[in-house]
Chain length 737, copies 2
C-alpha cells in the first residue's frame, strides 16, 4: 500500500503533513469500505423531528408540541483501536467540523486522508455540528466506520448515576454506505404515478388516483395568472370540501412563478410543478381561477423501499384482500419511522409503533425502522416525562425491545439501548405510589384507548399495572442478556412483588374478571376489556380464569365494546391465544371485511359497523377527522402470520421457533414468514401440512385425531398434539389421516 | 388603516385568506416596529456553541468537549394578547416553519401578513427549526415582537417540579431590529487593518501588527503554486516557531484556487484572499514555497462594537497605560459572550466571566453580553453537572446575577432566569454532605486557581463553603425580588445555618486564619489565601479577624502566593475593602506595570515577576501555552473604578450609589463610571473632589481632618468621615481644607 507516511509525528514534522493530506483518491484501496456512523439515537431523533413536523392541519403546520422534543448532541467523539496487519490509507469525511487524534497525537487541521502504518493504532475523532447530527465516514479497512466504533457525547458521561468520566457506546449506522450518501440528505424514494380518472365536479375538477396513496402532487403545463385551491381527500367527500378537509393547499400562479402559500416556496413555472409538501389522498379536487390553466396533474408517490418478505394466501378471497390491504396500509405508514396515520397525524406514537413492529416481523422484517422508531420515541436522558407523554406508551416501549430481540436476535441493539431502558425504568419506579403501583401524575396522559363511552382513568388502573409488570419482566430478560446480575435480581424482585398483587387487587370473584381500577383501596364497579385480554396472552391468569374472562368479558356485550382496530388487535390476539381462531376469523371478516366492503383501500383508524355514510369519516368532532390509513388497522397480517400460519420465534432470532398452523375455518392457506436470514414457508389444508425453512430449528405443532405421516423426521404425540422437528433446508410434508 | 379583513374567520372563508396573505408591503404602517425574539437562552446557547467551537489548537479544531453542550429547543411557542384601539396589519417572519393561531382559530398556511381588527385579540405562533434557534419577528404596533411576548418550549412545562402544563416566560431579544437582520446571521464587526512592519526572517517573512489583535488574515495578490505555512504569534517567538505555536494555518495555492487545510475551504483566488478562521496574534510569520507569491498581507480586525463609557486618567502615566491596556484586553475578550482568552482558549468560563462582568460595569456597561454569557453558561434544565463542570464556577454564576441586578436594575432578566437559579441551587443542595457542606463529587472539577504548588482539594474546602454561602444569600435576595416568600424563608434558613458553621469549622485560632480544608472532621494544616480574602470583602469576619488575616495570610510570604491575575483580582479587592489602596497601587504597578514593562499590549493569563525571557510565554507545559490576552488580566479597570474613583451602586441600577474617591498614592485622578442611563463623573486631588451624575442619588464619602466646603448640599460628618448627597444633574465641588 503505497506512500506510507507516519502521521503519528505530524505535529513535529510539518513536511510529513502534506503527505498525509495530499494522498490522492487512487491510493484508497479498492476493497475499502465504510458507512456513516453517529451517536445512537442522534440521527433518529433529528430525522424523526423532521418527519413529525411535516404534519399540517388544514394548511397550517402542526407540530407535536406537547411531546418532549430532543436534539442531536452538537459534539460527538468517535474512537476505535485496531491492530493492522498491513498499513492502510483512510479517507475521512464528517458532517461537521472535525479533528483527528491518532495514537494520542493531534493531527494538523482536519485531514481528509491519513496513512496508518501496520501495528496497533488508535483514532479519536470529534465532530461538531449544530445544523444536523454530527456523523462520520471513514473509508478504509480495519478503520472503516461501522458499529464497532465507539462513541461518546459530552452529556452521556455526566449523568449522576454514571460517575466514571467516559462512557462509550457502540456507534449507530443505517445504510449510508458511501461518502456521497450523507445521512442528513436522506429522502424517501419517489415514483411518478398517474390519476386513474378525471372529471368535472362543481366549479372544479376531481381526480381519482385509484386507491389511498401518499406523495407530492404535480401540475403539468401550469400557466396563466390566479390561484388554485387544492383539496386532498382520503374520501371523495373530503376532497370536495375544501373548507373542512384535513389537508389542503393553495398555490398562486403568476406568469413564470408559482407560490405555495404554506411554505412560501416560490418556484419558476417549469414544465412540471411539484408541490413542496407530501400528502395522503386518493382524490384530488382542484378549484382554479379562470385565468389559470393546467394540462393535467400527476403525483410522485413517496415511500420507504421495502421487500415484501412475508406472504399469505388462502381459499377465502376476502381474507386475501384483507392481507393485501393490511400490507399496503403498513407500507404507507412505514416511513422515516413507523407512524400512526398518513393523513392527519403523521407522528410516531409508541402504542401504535408496537403493533407496527409486530406486523412488520410478518411482512418486511425491517429491523432498521424498528430501531429508528425506538430511538426517536425514547428521546434522551435524563428522563422527565413519559413517552409521547402517555403512561401506557412508556410500557409499550419496553415490550417492543424484547419483541425486537426475540424476532431478530440482534443483541447489539439491546446493548446500545439498555442504558436508556434502565433510566426510563428508574423514572417509572420513582413515580410509584405507596402501594408500588403506577398512577397518572399531573402532566401524564393515561390513554388506554379511544372509547365510545367515558372510562374512569383515576387511581390504580388494572391495565396499567399489567403493562408495568410485563415491562419489569422485560427488564429482567434484558438484564440477563446483558449479564447484569444486580439488575436481574432487582427487577425480578420488583416484578414478582407486583405480579403477586395483581389478582388480590384487581380480580373480582363475583364478576369473574379484572375490574377496571382501584381508587383509594376500593375496587371500582366497572369491568373493561383491557386488563382482561392482556392477562390472557401475557399468561398472567390460569386457564380457568381465562375461560371466565372469555365468558364474562370478551363475549359479554354488556362490557364496553372496542371500536378501534388498535385494541381489536389485542382482543383478537387474546382469542387466538386461547385457540379460538374460528371466532377470530369471523370477527376479522366482519370488521376488516366490513371496511373492505365499504371500499377501503387501506385500513382505518376506527371503524364502527353500526355507522353509515359520512359517519365513517368523522372523528374528533370533525367531519373528516378520521384517518383512513392507520397502521393499527393492519393487524390481520400479524394475526394471520402468527396464529394461522402459526409461526413465531421461541429462541432469539428464530434460532428456535414454533409452527402451529391453524386453519380456523379456512380450507387451505399458504404463506411465508420472514426470519433474519430467510423465511419459513407453511402450507396447510385439511389433509396436509407442508413446512420448509431457511434457518433455525422449528417445532411443528398440530392436532390430529388419527396417525399422521411425515416425509422427514419423527412425529411425536402427547395428549392428542403432535410435534415434529423441522431442520433448516428441508421440505417437510405431513399427511394427516 | 386600509383594507381590514377579519382573519378570525379565515378557515371558513377562503376568499378572505387571499386578502390576509396578499396585503402589500405599503400597508404596514410606517410607525411599525419589532425585534427578533426567541426562547430565553436558546439563541445564546446556539451562538455560544458556535463561538466555543472555533477554538483550534495547533491547526486542529478543539471543542469544549468535557462540558455540557446544549441545543436550542427545536419547537417554540410564542404568544401575546393585546387590545387594539385601532386595527393593525402585521408582517410575520420566522426562522423556521411556523403557524399562526389567532383568537383560537388556526389561519391557513403560514401567512406573511395578517390584518387584525380593533379590539381584544390573541396570537399564538409555533416555530420549528432544527438548524438554528426558532425565532420570530412581527412588524407591527401592539403585536410587534418584543420582550412582552411570552414563550414556551415543549420541555419547560414538563419538569417534574412544574406540574401545570403551560409555563410561559418572557421572550428574549437583543438588537436584531429589522426583519432582514436574522439572528442566525449574526457576525461580529470587522475592520481592515495593516501591519506596521514587515521583514525577512529565516526562510520567510515576519509581520508585526503593532499590538495584540484578533481577526482574519488576508493575502493580497496571491499567485503561483505551492503552500504557505502561517504562524500566528502573540509573541515574536511564537510566530516564528510554527511547530509549537498554539495556532497556525496552512494554505495551498494552485492557480486560481486557494485551499485552507483546516476547513478544506476552497476559494477562488480573488484579489484579496481572507482566511476562514479568526485568530489572535500580534505577529505573523509566513513560510511560502518558492512558487507562491503575494504582494502583502493585512487583516480584518474582528470585534463586538462597544462604547467606552467608563474612563480613568491620573497623574501616573503607568497607571493610565494599565487602564488602557486593561480596557483593550477586556474589549478583545468581549465577543459573542465574554471569553477568557482570545488565542488558545476562546471559551466562556463562569469564573472568568464573573470578573469580566464586573470590569464591564466600569467600562462598557454592556448588559446584553452579560446576559448572553449567563444563559450560555447555565445551559438547560434538568441540571446534571456543574457549570463548566467546576464546583466553584456554579457559585460564581449565582453571584454574577446579583451583581447584574445591582448594577443595571434590570429585573426582567432576573424574572427570566430565576427558575434556572432555583433548579441549579436544587442540584447543589442535593449534593451536600451530611454536614450540609459541598465537596467535589466524581466528575466535578474543584478548580479554585492555578497554583504553583499542589493544594489539597479534598473534603470540605473553606473557600467552596464561602462561595456556597454567598450563593445562598444571593438566592435569598433574588427570592425577595421575585416576591417568593417560601424561597426566601428556605434559602435564608440554609444560608444562616451554613454561615454559622464557617468560623467553628474553618477558623484556626492558633493560625489566626481560615485553614484550607477539613477532611473527615479534621482541620488540615494548610492555610491558603482564597477563603481568607473572600471572607474579607464578603464581610463574613469581624474587623479584628480581618486584621489577623491581613497579617497572617495576605502579608505573609509563607502562605502560597497567587500568581494568576484571576485571584489577584480578589486579593487586591480584599485589600481595597480594608482601605489599603496605597498597598494595592504598589502591587498594581509591580504586577500590571511589570507586564507593561515587558511590552504587554494586553494583559496575560498568568504573570510571575520572578521569571524571565521565554519563561513568560510558557504554561501548561507548552512553550507558548500562556495566553497573552486574558480577560481576568484586565482587573485594574474594575479596581480603579470601584475603589479609587470609588463608585458603586447601593440600590439596584444606581437608584442610589456611593462615591468614595481614594487617591491611594495618586496625586489626582479623574474618570467616568457608567450607570444605566448615563454616568458618574469623579475628579479628585489632594484639595478638591468634583462629582457629577446623570441619574440616581449618590452619597459622597471622604475623610478629611479639617472642615471641607461644598458648592451644593450639606456636608455631614461622623467619626472623621464626611458625607454629602449628590443629586443628579448637578456638579458638586468639595474643597478640602
Amino acid at each position: 500500500m503505497k506512500r506510507l507516511i507516519s502521521c503519528v509525528v505530524a505535529l513535529s514534522a510539518a513536511a510529513m503533513i502534506l503527505n498525509a493530506t495530499n494522498v490522492c483518491a487512487a491510493d484508497i484501496s479498492a476493497e475499502s469500505k465504510g458507512t456513516w456512523i453517529w451517536y445512537p439515537g442522534d440521527y433518529e431523533i433529528w430525522l424523526g423531528n423532521e418527519m413529525n413536523n411535516r404534519r399540517t392541519e388544514r394548511g397550517s403546520f402542526y407540530p407535536p408540541y406537547l411531546w418532549r422534543i430532543d436534539s442531536a448532541y452538537p459534539i460527538v467523539e468517535f474512537r476505535k483501536s485496531a491492530k493492522l496487519t498491513q498499513p492502510e490509507t483512510i479517507e475521512i469525511c464528517a458532517e461537521g467540523l472535525y479533528n483527528v487524534v491518532m495514537d494520542g497525537q493531534r493531527l494538523f487541521g482536519a485531514p481528509q486522508k491519513v496513512d496508518i502504518p501496520a501495528g496497533e493504532h488508535s483514532l479519536i475523532i470529534q465532530v461538531f455540528n449544530q445544523k444536523t447530527p454530527p456523523t462520520l465516514f471513514i473509508k478504509g479497512n480495519a478503520f472503516a466506520t461501522d458499529s464497532s466504533w465507539l462513541v461518546c457525547s459530552s452529556e452521556k458521561k455526566r449523568l449522576p448515576e454514571k460517575n466514571h468520566d467516559f462512557e462509550y457506546v457502540s456507534a449507530d449506522c443505517w445504510n449510508f454506505d458511501s461518502i456521497e450518501q450523507k445521512p442528513s440528505d436522506f429522502k424517501l424514494n419517489t415514483e411518478p404515478k398517474e390519476a386513474v380518472s378525471r372529471k368535472t365536479a362543481g366549479d372544479g375538477e376531481l381526480f381519482d388516483f385509484g386507491r389511498e396513496t401518499f406523495g407530492y402532487l404535480r401540475f403539468h403545463g401550469l400557466k396563466g395568472k390566479g390561484s388554485i385551491r387544492i383539496g386532498y381527500g382520503e374520501s371523495l367527500e373530503e376532497a370536495q370540501d375544501w373548507k373542512e378537509a384535513e389537508t389542503s393547499d393553495w398555490i398562486t400562479v403568476d406568469g413564470d412563478n408559482v407560490t405555495n402559500e404554506i411554505t412560501h416556496q416560490v418556484a419558476p413555472n417549469e414544465k412540471i410543478f411539484t408541490m413542496s409538501g407530501s400528502k395522503a389522498f386518493r382524490y384530488i379536487y382542484l378549484a382554479a381561477d379562470k385565468g389559470v390553466k393546467y394540462d393535467k396533474i400527476s403525483m410522485l408517490y413517496e415511500y420507504l423501499p421495502e421487500e415484501y418478505k412475508g406472504s399469505f394466501r388462502c381459499n377465502d378471497e376476502e381474507v386475501n384482500k384483507m392481507w393485501d390491504v393490511g400490507a399496503y396500509t403498513l407500507h404507507l405508514t412505514t416511513r422515516e419511522t413507523f407512524i400512526d396515520g398518513i393523513k392527519r397525524d403523521r407522528w410516531a406514537w409508541s402504542g401504535d409503533a408496537l403493533q407496527s413492529y409486530l406486523m412488520n416481523y410478518y411482512l418486511f422484517f425491517d429491523k432498521d425502522t424498528v430501531k429508528r422508531t425506538t430511538w426517536l420515541l425514547r428521546t434522551k436522558d435524563p428522563v422527565y416525562c413519559h413517552i409521547n407523554t402517555i403512561l401506557d406508551y412508556t410500557f409499550y416501549w419496553f415490550l417492543g425491545i424484547y419483541d425486537y430481540y426475540m424476532y431478530t436476535g440482534d443483541d447489539s441493539f439491546l446493548k446500545q439501548i439498555y442504558p436508556r431502558m434502565q433510566t426510563l425504568m428508574e423514572f417509572v419506579l420513582n413515580r410509584r405510589n405507596d402501594n408500588g403501583m403506577v398512577e397518572g401524575q399531573p402532566g401524564d396522559w393515561v390513554f388506554i384507548d379511544w372509547t365510545d363511552f367515558p372510562m374512569d382513568k383515576s387511581g390504580e388502573i388494572s391495565f396499567e399495572q399489567i403493562l408495568f409488570c410485563k415491562s419489569l419482566e422485560t427488564m429482567v430478560l434484558c438484564a440477563d442478556l446483558m449479564g447484569n446480575k444486580a439488575d436481574h435480581d432487582r427487577y425480578s424482585a420488583l416484578a414478582s412483588e407486583l405480579r403477586a398483587k395483581l389478582i388480590p387487587t384487581f380480580w373480582n370473584e363475583e364478576k369473574g374478571a379484572f375490574i377496571n381500577n382501584v381508587v383509594n383501596g376500593k375496587q371500582s364497579d366497572a369491568v373493561t376489556r383491557y386488563a382482561n385480554m392482556f392477562a390472557i396472552f401475557f399468561n398472567y391468569i390460569s386457564p380457568e380464569k381465562q375461560q371466565l374472562v372469555k365468558k364474562n368479558v370478551l363475549l359479554n356485550d354488556q362490557v364496553m365494546k372496542i371500536s378501534t382496530p388498535y385494541m381489536r388487535f389485542y382482543e383478537l390476539e387474546a382469542f387466538c391465544a386461547m385457540g379460538e381462531q374460528e371466532t377470530v376469523l369471523k370477527e376479522m371478516k366482519d370488521y376488516w371485511g366490513g371496511m373492505i366492503k365499504l371500499g377501503a383501500t387501506s385500513f382505518w383508524e376506527k371503524y364502527n359497523p353500526e355507522q353509515t355514510g359520512r359517519q365513517h369519516l368523522e372523528m374528533y368532532g370533525r367531519p373528516y377527522g378520521k384517518s383512513l390509513c392507520h397502521a393499527w388497522g393492519a393487524s390481520p397480517i400479524y394475526l394471520l402470520g402468527k396464529y394461522y400460519l402459526g409461526v413465531k420465534p421461541t429462541k432469539k432470532g428464530y434460532e428456535e421457533y414454533s409452527v402451529a398452523p391453524v386453519l380456523g375455518g379456512l380450507e387451505w392457506m399458504e404463506g411465508d414468514v420472514p426470519t433474519p436470514h430467510g423465511k419459513v414457508h407453511v402450507y396447510r389444508d385439511a389433509k396436509t401440512i407442508k413446512v420448509s425453512s431457511d434457518e433455525g430449528i422449528g417445532t411443528l405443532y398440530f392436532k390430529c385425531a388419527g396417525t399422521p405421516k411425515t416425509n422427514k423426521g419423527t412425529l411425536k404425540s402427547k395428549d392428542g398434539e403432535w410435534t415434529l422437528t423441522i431442520e433448516p433446508g428441508t421440505k417437510v410434508v405431513v399427511t394427516l389421516e
